[in-house]
């Protein structure tokens, strides 16, 4: 695997990938400070 997490930034694209790859979604709400 790569050395960084490859974050999605849109729910639609994350869910589309989740359906096609048969995976769950990790949704992280963060505060950039």
């Amino acid at each position: 695997m790569g050395d960084k997490i490859k974050w999605e930034s849109s729910m639609d694209s994350a869910l589309a990938r989740a359906r096609s790859e048969r995976k769950h979604v990790l949704l992280d709400f963060f505060n950039p400070g």
Partner: protein
């Protein structure tokens, strides 16, 4: 999380292999309202239809985040009545992260999944007995307390 947990190599590998990671700012609308986010970090496990199954609020170290995500996937499978899939996630927590904060709930839910699969109430009693022995002060041991009578 971005400084310590997400850069961890075990976390990067685990997420890459098991999950689709989606990161948004806490005030991103409509997601922040839809998920009622009030504090950060808030980490939520969703199924592929966007339904929430598990959330944590606050920092998690790598050895707590991974079992928490496994628990989230296990709960998703349980709530979709995929008990064998749920058991595989839950048993991984118990095998690899038995000291984690997610382990007692995994024990409890494992007992429930096994009962739902077999309708054998002894499996619930067994879950209570293991919880009371290994996690005597856990809230999940208290929640399983009635099963001692089965």
């Amino acid at each position: 999380m971005d400084a310590v947990t997400y850069p961890d190599s075990k976390v990067v590998s685990f997420i890459g292999e098991n999950l689709i990671p989606l990161q948004v700012q806490f005030d991103t609308q409509p997601l922040a309202s839809d998920f009622n986010v009030k504090w950060t970090p808030t980490v939520i496990t969703l199924d592929a239809d966007g339904r929430e199954h598990h959330r944590t609020v606050g920092f998690l170290a790598p050895d707590e985040l991974i079992p928490s995500l496994l628990l989230g996937m296990g709960k998703s499978c349980f709530e979709n009545e995929r008990f064998n899939d749920a058991l595989s996630y839950l048993e991984k927590i118990l095998a690899d992260y038995p000291k984690s904060d997610s382990a007692p709930e995994a024990h409890y839910l494992r007992g429930v999944c096994r009962f739902k699969s077999t309708h054998d109430p002894k499996l619930l009693k067994e879950a209570y007995e293991k919880l009371s022995k290994e996690y005597p002060s856990s809230e999940w041991t208290k929640r399983a307390y009635p099963y001692r009578l089965l």
